[in-house]
């Protein structure tokens, strides 16, 4: 049996996935990236190998992706997360023609064809608004975790606006609202809608009329998926674990590359 690995080293989390030659996912792992990408990549790969009951020498080809992709000497090749998310998304949802990937430090909207090839993409600018980091900071300012924030947002009865596009200023806005007596639930809902507005501005010309899948760690947040679906007026396709789609795409590309050797 042949085995292929994808390692996706993101700014917040490192994900690894092992695929066999029949395209079955046989091992996965998600670790915090921390400051040492190389160590995080190796840790994540070892954990995925353990999950798959394999050793590193069993692997036939490894592709690394994500912002730390060039830090993994064990990888045979590096591919951007844009191409990897496209490929992984198409594998899970063949009908998808657009991908919204909200990761730790950026958000991307990718138009794909039926083979999972990238036709075009747009990314947010060098600003944390509309990213996983933004959500983490906002949850921190409400003194809750991301899961609690998602649950709270559902209970919101009123719409409050978080208007700043800057994470630091948005945090001050949240603190002011909180100090002014606004309920946490309303603020949580306002935070999701703020990100949804930002991502919609980036996404609408690409996703219009298409089946859209959402990937990346932020897609685990039900509150975010709800707010974005509402704003885009479309149901988003979300995989069981949207955070590993980049690593899945990398492993699928690893298989193709190996077969073309």
């Amino acid at each position: 049996m042949l085995y292929f690995a994808g390692i996706d080293i993101g700014s917040l989390c490192t994900k690894s996935l092992i695929l066999n030659e029949d395209d079955a996912i046989i091992g996965t792992s998600i670790k915090r990236s921390g400051a040492a990408y190389r160590g995080a990549g190796e840790d994540a790969l070892n954990a995925a190998l353990k999950d798959a009951n394999l050793k590193s020498e069993d692997l036939n080809y490894i592709i690394s992706t994500g912002y730390g992709r060039s830090r993994i000497p064990i990888a045979d090749e590096q591919i951007t997360e844009i191409t990897c998310h496209a490929r992984g998304s198409s594998f899970i949802f063949p009908e998808a023609r657009a991908v919204i990937d909200i990761g730790g430090q950026d958000s991307k909207v990718i138009e794909i064809n039926s083979k999972g090839r990238v036709l075009k993409f747009v990314m947010n600018d060098k600003c944390a608004a509309g990213t996983g980091r933004f959500l983490e900071v906002m949850a921190g300012s409400l003194d809750i975790d991301l899961e609690q924030m998602s649950e709270l947002a559902k209970q919101s009865k009123k719409e409050v606006q978080i208007s700043s596009m800057c994470t630091v200023f948005a945090e001050s806005e949240v603190i002011s609202l909180f100090a002014g007596g606004t309920e946490k639930a309303e603020i949580a809902s306002g935070i999701y809608r703020a990100i949804a507005r930002r991502v919609t501005g980036l996404a609408s010309h690409i996703v219009s009329g298409k089946k859209v899948t959402m990937t990346g760690g932020v897609a685990k947040s039900k509150g975010m998926v709800w707010a974005l679906s509402k704003k885009l007026k479309t149901e988003l396709l979300v995989a069981d674990d949207p955070q590993i789609i980049g690593a899945l795409g990398a492993a699928l590309i690893a298989k193709t590359k190996f077969n073309n050797l």
């Binding site: 951007t80 844009i82 990238v118 993409f121 990314m123 600018d125 060098k126 010309h205």
Partner: protein, 416 residues
């Protein structure tokens, strides 16, 4: 180790000394009893004709950026009250003015002398504020030449008259008053004669960019712009381009590519990232990606064959800015998109890079629209990358690298 090999041109290694000499002559002008002008926009030929030493706003910014001296000046400007996201070219000059006023030591090779005249050639609204800001800091005389962008061909003749009249009735009298002598029309003609010869040689060099693989790149041309612009009329201009043309002809004959192997050919829109050309070059080399053509670097006298060196030099100069120049090409809705689409064919372009400057909105409007329109007609992908011409803080190279790599992957996927 990269699988690609960059073959640097010998000729472009000469440009550093040529531009250093220009800026040194400006620094020492006052000691030599010469008059000095600072100028934005394309009208520095007029102070040159009066034997003034003249600075050019974007050229100086590129020079300071290329020498790694921009950041200090930007920070001095901010300490003096400028906003972080104001035009970095404007701010760089405000930093220089503040350094002069407050005696803040800055690198000797980028010091500018206090001008006798500020010429505000207004290509964008920010340039009038630039002159106004400098006037407040330095208190020297300011004269403006408004160079509005045309939107249709029928407007061009009015705009030409408008600009010509400002030059004759405002700029030339100001120069005569500052210099205490009549305007030297013959010298302006001489400058145009040299410019014509230089730019015609440059156009022959442009033809080599159409070869596949190309013997030189847009970056090579970028560092060679000064002789066809702010070094116009200088004795080094024609020899530089003659040497460059000969080197390119030699490379073409021997089939030597600028980058070996040349994997993809790209169009570059917007300002050149002067302070980061080396960084961009390294990233793009690693991807086998060669930049070849762009709207901004093609602004500088693209039709020199039409320069009239027999008639009125003022009218001839203005015609080069409008009828035969970049102003119309870059700004007319009916022209700019077809120009890029034709370039995509002529230069065999595989992908588009739209450089969106964080501090200059003039060059980054409609980038995604352009990509979509060109993709529809020419079937090639494009990306927008964000950064700045000279401000380090506005460039995130991890983001830039990812976008450029993704462009390379898209180009590759379309070829399969």
């Amino acid at each position: 180790m990269s699988e690609y090999k960059l073959n640097r041109l010998e000729t472009t290694k000469l440009i550093g000394n040529i531009v250093d000499k220009h800026w040194a002559s400006l620094r020492h002008a006052k000691e030599n009893g010469e008059k000095v002008a600072w100028c934005s926009g394309p009208v520095f030929a007029f102070p040159y004709a009066m034997d003034m030493k003249c600075h050019f706003m974007a050229g100086y910014s590129a020079y300071a950026g290329g020498r790694g001296a921009a950041q200090q000046l930007l920070e001095i400007a901010e300490e003096d009250g400028e906003l972080i996201d104001a035009c970095s070219y404007h701010k760089l000059h405000m930093g220089m003015a503040a350094a002069m006023r407050k005696n803040i030591p800055v690198r000797k090779d980028v010091i500018l002398p206090l001008p006798d005249l500020l010429i505000s050639g207004r290509l964008c609204p920010e340039m009038s504020h630039y002159a106004e800001g400098l006037y407040r800091k330095m208190g020297v005389r300011v004269t403006g030449v408004d160079v509005p962008p045309p939107h249709q061909k029928s407007e061009i003749k009015y705009f030409e008259k408008y600009v010509e009249r400002q030059i004759r009735e405002s700029l030339i009298p100001a120069l005569e008053e500052v210099c205490g002598k009549p305007f030297n029309y013959d010298r302006l003609t001489e400058i145009l004669i040299v410019l014509k010869e230089t730019a015609m040689l440059r156009n022959e060099c442009w033809e080599y960019l159409k070869l596949k693989p190309s013997p030189w790149t847009l970056w090579d041309y970028g560092v060679s712009i000064a002789p066809v612009f702010y070094l116009m009329g200088s004795p080094e201009a024609v020899p530089y381009y003659k040497k460059l043309k000969a080197e390119l002809a030699d490379r073409a004959a021997k089939k030597i590519a600028a980058l070996e192997p040349e994997k993809s050919r790209v169009y570059w829109d917007g300002w050149l990232p002067w302070a980061f050309l080396g960084k961009f070059s390294r990233i793009m080399c690693k991807l086998g990606m060669v930049p070849l053509v762009g709207r901004y670097p093609w602004e500088f006298f693209p039709h020199p064959e039409t320069i009239d060196t027999e008639g009125d030099p003022v009218a001839s100069f203005v015609k080069q800015v409008y009828s035969n120049g970049g102003q119309a090409k870059d700004n007319m809705p009916s022209l700019n998109l077809p120009v890029i689409q034709n370039w995509v064919e002529d230069y065999k372009i595989d992908g588009l890079i739209m450089f969106s400057s964080k501090s200059c909105r003039m060059w980054n409007l409609g980038h995604n629209d352009f990509i979509a329109a060109i993709e529809r007609q020419n079937g090639i992908p494009g990306v927008v990358i964000e950064g700045d011409m000279v401000d380090t803080r506005m460039n995130s190279f991890a983001q830039i690298e990812t976008r450029l790599e993704a462009l390379a992957e898209m180009i590759e996927a379309r070829k399969e």
